[in-house]
């Protein structure tokens, strides 16, 4: 799980161009979206959908489904562990 979390943080930083942010600065349980967290928005959600599809073979057709799954790095990792195809 820890490896997956590190991998996810690296993918997020790269895909979302999170300059100035290191993997250590992203807390596992902190919200990714909105002002309180990393400040991600609906466009980022689309990028995360692609990370899931490309790296883990998981398809999310409707961005609305992603709301709870994308809450934090931890919820993402949990979802991937339960659903990964690759």
């Amino acid at each position: 799980m820890e490896q997956l979390i590190q991998e996810l943080k690296a993918s997020l930083i790269e895909a979302l161009n999170l300059e100035d942010i290191t993997p250590e600065e992203i807390e596992n349980n902190a919200p990714l979206f909105g002002e309180a967290g990393l400040g991600l928005d609906s466009i980022d959600a689309l990028e995360i959908i692609l990370i899931l599809e490309r790296n883990y073979g998981i398809r999310i057709a409707n961005p609305a489904e992603g709301k709870e799954i994308f809450y934090s790095v931890q919820t993402l990792a949990d979802y991937i562990t339960a659903n990964r195809k690759q």
């Binding site: 928005d41 609906s42 466009i43 689309l46 959908i49 057709a61 409707n62 961005p63 609305a64």
Partner: protein
């Protein structure tokens, strides 16, 4: 000074001239179908203009071997119809301007050029890339119509043509031009199809604007132009006046609309103020109504905020024509003028269940003999760019 609408022209998946469109509306005939213009993996329905580039060139009296973007060809066809409708061919003593618009220029040809070019920068036919910029199609329309005066091109995504029409009216009101041909054109291309695909907002089935179950938009192509004229000039006939217009920015998000539809509200309110009218004088709204969950919810909220519990008849015509992007405001301005002129309302196809939050119900049947004095036409684009036009008898 009043700005009159004296000519109209349009082409879309449901017709190659203005009259065709009226028939398609009457018969509730949608233009949606599979992509045939280019090879693609996409299976979502699109609304293609049912004329090949060769046929378009023939209709326009252009040599078949001429390298001209489909964006320009569609624009030429619709602009020429508007030009002829207003009987402008003999007019020499007036200042005539052309304000056109599109969202991706001659991208249909750039897509021919680029795959070869990226393999080897010395390859790719240069004619195919020379029309990439949005200004190219405008220059070609000007040449076709023999216009030597002011011309410019606007590109604000899906509100482009609406902004072009608004600028036209302002130039006339300020006495800088006497006549303006204004509108927009856009051809379907792989780039936009994949772009909207990447945003996950293409509906795999025909779009359902304002329906609770709506799941996205369908792309279309086309062109629509109006001839706007100062009331001080002489004209053969007049459809109506362009009495109001306003552009406002949602300043909320690069692609998403705010949930309260602030930008849309400001645009509609601004158009009413410009015309000196109150909300209850609006008899029909040709809504932007793309069919995406976000747009329709936001636009509904804005309509409700402005009109309260006296919502005028409204509908989206995008299930007929698809979303024609930069051309949408031009095509729908023509529809709005026709609604006013003939007293007709267009059905909003594929509507079953209102959106829970607003409960708004659009017009679902083609209606004739309706008394219409004022029509609002909405177009909203990426970057929160929102514009409303108000046409009045």
């Amino acid at each position: 000074m009043k700005v009159l609408v004296t000519g109209i022209g349009c082409v879309s998946a449901i017709g190659t001239n203005v009259n065709d469109h009226l028939l398609s509306f009457q018969e509730k005939r949608s233009g949606l179908g599979p992509v045939t213009l280019f090879p693609t993996n996409h299976t979502e329905p699109v609304a293609e203009v049912k004329l090949s580039n060769t046929v378009l060139k023939n209709k326009l009296g252009l040599p078949e071997q001429a390298v001209i973007s489909r964006t320009a060809l569609l624009g030429m066809l619709a602009a020429r119809e508007a030009f002829e409708d207003a009987d402008l061919s003999g007019v020499t003593n007036l200042r005539i301007g052309l304000i056109s618009s599109n969202s991706t220029g001659g991208m249909d040809l750039s897509e021919h050029f680029y795959p070869e070019f990226r393999q080897d920068p010395t390859r790719g036919n240069l004619h195919d890339i020379a029309s990439h910029d949005p200004g190219d199609s405008t220059e070609r329309i000007a040449r076709l119509l023999g216009l030597n005066g002011f011309r410019t091109t606007i590109s604000t995504a899906c509100s482009s043509a609406t902004n072009a029409i608004m600028l036209g009216a302002r130039l006339i009101r300020q006495g800088i031009l006497d006549i303006v041909i204004a509108g927009g054109t856009d051809a379907l291309c792989k780039f936009t199809l994949n772009g909207f695909g990447s945003l996950l907002i293409l509906d795999k089935t025909p779009c359902r604007p304002f329906d609770a179950s709506r799941a996205g938009l369908n792309l279309g192509e086309g062109a629509g132009y109006l001839v706007l004229q100062s009331e001080k000039t002489s004209y053969r006939k007049t459809y109506c006046t362009l009495a109001g217009y306003a552009n406002a920015n949602d300043a909320f998000h690069q692609t998403a609309s705010s949930s309260d539809g602030n930008g849309a509200y400001l645009a509609m309110k601004g158009a009413l103020e410009k015309a000196g009218l109150s909300p209850d004088s609006i008899d029909y709204i040709n809504a932007h109504g793309t069919g995406t969950p976000n747009n329709d919810a936001s636009e509904s909220a804005a309509i409700q905020r402005l009109f309260g519990n006296r919502i005028p008849p409204f509908s989206s015509t995008k299930a007929f024509t698809g979303h024609t992007l930069g051309a949408a405001g031009g095509v729908e301005a023509v529809f709005s003028v026709l609604a006013l002129h003939h007293g007709i309302l267009y059905p909003n196809l594929n509507f079953n269940q209102p959106i829970a939050e607003t409960g708004l119900i659009p017009v679902t049947e083609y209606q004739t003999g309706v008394s219409i004095r004022s029509v609002l036409s909405n177009s909203f684009g990426f970057g929160g760019n929102n514009t409303s036009l108000l046409f009045r008898k």
